[in-house]
Point group: C2
Chain length 402, copies 2
DNA sequence: CTACTTTGTGCGACGTCACAACAAACGGGG
DNA sequence: CCCCGTTTGTTGTGACGTCGCACAAAGTAG
């Protein structure tokens, strides 16, 4: 009962930025006294703090209140083919710590990868504590299919994993005081793109492309997980019946025509350096951008062709979901601007609703940190759900009633 | 604050059925005294009533409390190509009134259709009042694309309507004391399929097929509308690039291969009576069932072929949404059982998640009343959101404090 | 018939919120 | 320079809702 009101105030501060107690009261339909009391309580918990004066013309200026980051942090973690990574985000959304270790998951044993990630998480938690904060939770993004309980990785084709109870394994290694949960990596990336408070980012579709394709759906600001947690597996929607064979064994999957490989296949001969997996990915993508900027016909044609396929798939999803925006992430973020015309064209052509249902095409700016950022955001959600769960400020405990 | 608790109790009774005050308290984490007070208040509002004793073994038997339907009703209405219809549902979900009028929307003027529907709604409201109830709202389902404000029908291809502010028009005709809102017809059908309390029906995908195809998505028990309200337009997802031309002008739309016409095209010659639009639809569908039951090869092949296409589209949506069930409605409900093997096969083949993500294929049993039923359900939602909005029982007003 | 269990209600204590009053802080005008 | 209006933030007071507890009611088991 009390926690719901505190939650309301906290979310309002996150979504709408700092403001005075009086404005908070009018915005939430409370009295100034109630708002003041709630803010006071949040202040005691160390979740908000004063943020300078707010001159608003006439009358006494208010003292703005803002989220106080440094007390609590959420940790996001990621297990991917090439690396494991973590990130700690404070309540205000600022990065407090970040760790990253390259791996070769296909050669490393499962337990070794989990060991390494656990080490990174503990290091991150240590960083948080060193900054005087407490960790409220850790959400781990895994590249693969996670069962609804979010505890067991059913299949991780790219990782080469199968039936790994990632949640339990990690909890065993950490002995952490905070909850550890598991989520699909692309779903977490979607969470990261849905910035709180931005109304145009509460119904979005995130499409991630690289070796494979995945994605996530945010509807009404909340991640859509589906009945067993398998939602967002866009890469294996069959968009071209009778088309190319996919690594998954099916034929005509979206990722056979819109992931990185089909682009490279169309853009370059087998001996072209941009198709050399030994080279760094961003180098190869930069080269594609260079060629496109120079007007190379084959490159442009390839981008156009793949862009069309991206648009066709995006149109199908838009017909079903009518998102406010489609956020393209992964390799699309780097070279997608060259695909934009083709994507837009197919989207407008393939969506029944007038003007494509008003869906905008955007490109992610989060880079490879999207998943860990989304994980940390998701972990922090528990604080916004119930602010009373965080331990009170030590000085308040000592001070007592004065 | 108070209304939220009342809302909780009311929903609990709806979702879990009648039960004693004590069980209500334990289920909701309240004390027995609080539960008793809340039930008392709901009783005064006329929303719940006693429902016999509940023998539970040891101790004093409890007196069960159940939803009391007859006080408040929601009205669902529908504007379709061949008919307009209404239905009043009471709080318990029982049908209180039902009206239906066949029309030919292509020949009738827009205003005439609206006049007729308004008349039906008023008649339905009169029925509700005659039964001693009050109407709490009316939700109108329209076959076409509705803009997010849910006020203007942007395009209704089958109706032949364009840019009609259905909501405002209807309100003007009704001068109703209750709110009137507009929703896509197939979306309302989806609401009707998502039976409250049934956990396996809170994440579902409803696919409606007849002349065209549409549908709706229910995620976490709530209708997914999308940013502008255009969600659920499955019929025009392009499943066969370069395929057949669709009535909408595009090529390869799902409804060109999975709606009623492609089935008839494959199953019968042009002069076959089952392709005669003059015959009643259920007659023609019954004939298809007869032939399939008799083992007619051409019919079975057609059902198999169309079923495969249904499964291909369903698989795409299942990859994206991972619903607990796909509910097939419209003509699928009548003859879909003959398509089930083909649908299941494509669904298992086309969905990445193991065992097709656990998604079941089901057929609607609601017939053509799905949309009106969903509309009435949606209208009643306002009562569950805030039970205090309903007018108190007249006898309570008269009785006063005793 | 007694012991025990469970249900439903009545009553006092406590916490929370709304309303009102008041002090504080600032701009503007004479 | 001072007074006034305006807005902010805090402090009290009363109303209301919820919890905990006790008690009567109504059944079962032995």
């Amino acid at each position: 009962m009390r926690s719901t009101k505190l939650s309301l105030v906290l979310r309002q501060l996150r979504d709408g930025g700092p403001r005075s107690r009086a404005r908070l009261a009018t915005d939430l339909g409370l009295t100034r006294s109630s708002a003041s009391a709630l803010v006071g309580e949040l202040e005691e918990l160390g979740l908000v703090r004063a943020a300078g004066v707010e001159r608003g013309g006439l009358g006494r200026p208010g003292t703005a209140v803002e989220l106080d980051g440094h007390r609590v942090c959420g940790i996001g973690a990621e297990i991917n083919v090439n690396h494991v990574a973590t990130m700690a985000l404070d309540l205000a959304g600022d990065v407090v710590a970040e760790h990253r270790a390259p791996i070769d998951s296909t050669r490393l044993a499962v337990s070794a990868v989990l060991d390494l990630l656990a080490e990174l998480v503990e290091q991150t938690d240590a960083d948080v504590r060193a900054g005087g904060g407490q960790t409220v939770g850790c959400v781990v993004g895994v590249a693969g299919l996670l069962d609804r309980t979010h505890e067991v990785l059913t299949v991780g084709p790219n990782l080469g994993w199968k039936d790994v109870p990632v949640g339990a394994e990690l909890r065993g290694r950490l002995g952490a005081a905070y909850p550890v949960t598991i989520e699909n990596e692309a779903n977490l990336a979607a969470v990261a793109e849905a910035v709180p408070g931005d109304a145009s980012r509460q119904d979005i579709l995130v499409i991630f492309g690289e070796v494979g394709m995945g994605g996530g759906i945010v509807a009404g600001g909340r991640l859509l997980r589906g009945h067993q947690g398998y939602a967002g597996e866009f890469g294996h929607m069959i968009v071209e019946p009778g088309g190319r064979r996919c690594g998954c064994g099916r034929v005509g999957c979206w990722e056979t025509v819109a992931a990185l490989r089909p682009l490279l296949d169309a853009a370059a001969d087998p001996d072209d350096p941009i198709r050399d997996p030994a080279l760094a990915l961003d180098e190869r993508l930069a080269e594609i951008n260079r060629r496109a900027d120079l007007g190379d016909n084959r490159t442009l044609a390839a981008l156009d062709q793949v862009g069309s396929w991206v648009g066709i798939g995006a149109a199908m999803l838009t017909n079903a979901l009518n998102p406010a925006a489609i956020v393209l992430s992964g390799y699309f973020a780097e070279i997608g601007h060259h695909m934009r015309p083709a994507i837009q064209e197919q989207l407008l052509a393939g969506v029944l609703a007038p003007q494509g249902g008003g869906t905008r095409v955007e490109f992610s700016t989060l880079g490879f940190t999207a998943a860990v950022r989304g994980g940390a955001t998701e972990a922090l959600e528990s604080v916004f759900d119930d602010p009373t769960t965080v331990a009170p400020r030590p000085d308040v405990l000592l001070g007592g009633a004065r």
